[in-house]
């Protein structure tokens, strides 16, 4: 019998169902707008929850959160712009699918994967919260460092033909992440006297610029349609998406588990979960060469993983009082205002709140299927039917207001545009923007983990042992090496009739 099943009925009150549905719809719409993150969606609506019962407030916030993470897939697929950072890896295959006329299928597949991932994460929260919370405590600085390096190993897959250029781009992204005041030493770095750069490069603004501005620059230059459009309406394409989900069931399950585990790690979040799951999906695929060119498995992996972080992130939040992801930090604050005391005893002492919330989260995740399909269909139809003369200025305006709203800073808008132009310029010559984005996203985690591990290792006089002597670290290192070299090893053992390199092989 499921724990706390007595509280299932409490989650099913009309008020809670309305909150779950409304939260999912509101979150999906907010998440689909570039620049409005899941954290912002939850933060904006927190004051509404103060007058509610704690369980209802949690259901609303959980529904908004899970909807926003899914909503990020819309602009990732249709505009090559991740609506939230969690959807970065959704752009890798979602946008190529949309370009070839399968945007509707990509959105439906993303919805199904998000529901599966969300359910796995929420079930882990329901069934395994206390033991899984221990995982968060087992991760030290060096494990975070290696996790970031594992994410950076994706550069090999995203380099669009030139590993050296990808490596240079990744390093450039890492350098961008170091601009501003250093987190550990508080030194001012690489601002060259500019007050604008003191706060560093804002990641979401940079993402919008690097991914969206190149698309706008190319859209405005030609009269061609933005996306291919099918001659006849094809509806949701649910049977095709279901068939793809069934074919990729192991991919979905693996990605959901990865998302749950990464969600548990404080500070890691949906973007890293999506990248790690994408990397693993590509490594395990029979057709890794299709990834990056419109492979539906890539979309499913990312979306399952990023939605699984919702349930996963609640595990350390509720059991340890340590927020797993940034939106969890906001929700934790709201819980403290409500008088809920998080900790290992929360499940026994305040079971009515926790279990009602978890069942409400499961309900919201299930409701995301119809809500997501309907909203996704309208989003797709809007993008493919709206005249280009209106689409380009609308998207351009959204990038401006979205990047401004993160820190209320015009400087972030200017940085967004400059990085976008830079990304378009170097992208023409084989320097893909994705490695730059990877470096930017993972730089802070990599540096913090590296410096802290280095300091501890130097203090105890065992640097090699610090970096290579811990079992979890070694596991991540092994996965990284496997991710990097498995395609090469497999290619060597696979027979090629004409001895020619396969499509998508690296030229370096």
């Amino acid at each position: 019998m499921l724990p706390g099943i007595d509280y299932f009925a409490a989650a099913l009150t009309p008020f809670n169902i309305a909150l779950a549905l409304g939260g999912v719809v509101a979150g999906t719409i907010v998440g689909s707008l570039p620049g409005l993150t899941a954290t912002m969606a939850v933060a904006v609506l927190v004051p509404l929850t103060f007058a509610m019962e704690p369980a209802s407030a949690l259901i609303l916030m959980g529904a908004i959160y899970t909807g926003a993470i899914y909503g990020g897939a819309y602009s990732a697929v249709l505009l090559n712009t991740p609506g939230t950072p969690s959807a970065i890896a959704t752009t890798f295959d979602g946008y190529p699918m949309a370009k070839r006329g399968d945007g509707d299928l990509a959105i439906t597949a993303a919805c199904l994967a998000s529901v599966v991932g969300g359910l796995v994460g929420a079930l882990a929260l329901l069934l395994l919260a206390p033991p899984l919370a221990e995982v968060a405590l087992a991760f030290g600085p060096v494990e975070y460092f290696w996790l970031a390096i594992f994410g950076l190993s994706l550069i090999a897959a995203l380099s669009e033909g030139s590993l050296l250029k990808g490596l240079i781009g990744g390093c450039f992204g890492l350098l961008l992440s170091t601009i501003g005041v250093a987190e550990i030493s508080s030194d001012v770095r690489f601002t060259f006297g500019s007050r604008t750069l003191l706060g560093g490069i804002e990641v979401v603004s940079a993402l919008i610029g690097l991914y969206c501005i190149p698309v706008l620059i190319d859209m405005v230059a030609t009269p061609d349609r933005h996306l291919q459009v099918a001659a006849t309406p094809r509806g949701f394409r649910l049977p095709e998406a279901l068939a793809a989900a069934w074919r990729g069931k192991f991919n979905l399950l693996r990605s959901s588990v990865i998302g749950t585990l990464v969600g548990i790690l404080p500070g890691a979040g949906g973007s890293i979960a999506g990248l790690v799951a994408y990397s693993e999906a590509r490594r395990a695929s029979k057709h890794p060469e299709r990834f990056g060119k419109g492979e539906i498995d890539g979309v499913q992996a990312t979306e399952a993983a990023n939605n699984a972080t919702v349930g996963g992130g609640f595990i350390p939040t509720l059991v340890l009082g340590i927020p797993g992801t940034p939106p969890d930090a906001v929700i934790l604050g709201a819980l403290l205002v409500q008088g809920v005391r998080t900790g290992p005893n929360l499940f026994t002492e305040q079971g009515s709140i926790v279990y009602t919330f978890i069942y409400g989260l499961l309900l919201a995740t299930v409701l995301m299927l119809p809500a997501g399909l309907v909203i996704g269909r309208y989003a797709y139809r809007f993008i493919v039917t709206v005249p280009k003369a209106l689409l380009v200025p609308t998207v351009a305006f959204m990038t401006v207001i979205g990047s401004y709203a993160i820190r209320n800073s015009i400087s972030d808008v200017v940085v967004m545009i400059v990085l976008g132009v830079l990304g378009w310029g170097v992208g023409r010559f084989g320097f893909a923007v994705s490695p730059i984005v990877l470096g930017l996203i993972l730089g802070a985690i990599a540096e913090q983990g590296f410096v802290q591990a280095w300091t501890i290792g130097a203090a105890v006089g065992d640097l090699p042992g610090m970096f290579f002597g811990r079992p979890i670290s070694l596991g991540i290192v092994a996965l990284t090496l496997l991710s990097l070299f498995y395609p090469l090893v497999r290619a060597r053992f696979m027979k090629r009739p004409n001895g020619a390199p396969g499509e998508g092989d690296y030229v370096d």
């Binding site: 030139s162 390093c171 350098l175 280095w454």
Partner: protein, 161 residues
């Protein structure tokens, strides 16, 4: 998107790639110079490692291009350059004008400018009337959403304060 190639389909020398790699070396050198002012090793050990990697990879790329050539992955920029430049200029000028004239007027101006740049169909009377009105509604709608609902303090413009 087409791929630029040298004579008889052979890969070109990837001169742009070489120039960009050289620019990254220069950038790395400037960043390295900036680290010399930092006294705490915690501040510079990570950036210096990254800079060294970036310069090393850039040197390898230049060497590869000089010895073997490159240029397999160049995309030609088809279409109108004036419209491209116009888009970037409109966005940049609009962003810089926002603190002065306010978010709403600058946003409307940017929208209308890009609308004109992205228009490839004939300007029929219907489009002349409806498209700017739609643009106005979108800008005002987002302005209200962000400033009133989400409570984002959008610039009102120092000229009007």
């Amino acid at each position: 998107m087409s791929t630029e190639r040298g004579p008889e389909g052979a890969p070109g020398r990837d001169l742009p790639g070489t120039i960009i790699a050289a620019a990254f070396i220069l950038l790395g050198a400037v960043f390295w110079w900036d680290t010399t002012d930092m006294s705490d090793p915690d501040s510079y050990v990570f950036p210096r490692t990254v800079i060294a990697l970036m310069i090393g990879a850039s040197l390898l790329l230049i060497l590869r291009n000089l010895v073997h050539g490159g240029g397999r992955h160049h995309r030609s920029a088809e279409g109108s350059w004036p419209r491209r430049l116009g888009l970037v200029a409109a966005m940049l000028l609009g962003a810089l004008a926002m603190p002065l004239v306010g978010f709403l007027p600058a946003g409307v101006a940017v929208f209308l400018a890009i609308l004109a740049l992205a228009m490839y169909d004939p300007w029929t009377p219907y489009r002349r009337l409806v498209f700017p009105l739609v643009g106005l509604a979108i800008v005002v709608g987002f302005h209200v959403l962000f400033s009133e609902v989400l409570r984002v303090p959008l610039p009102v413009g120092s000229l009007f304060e």
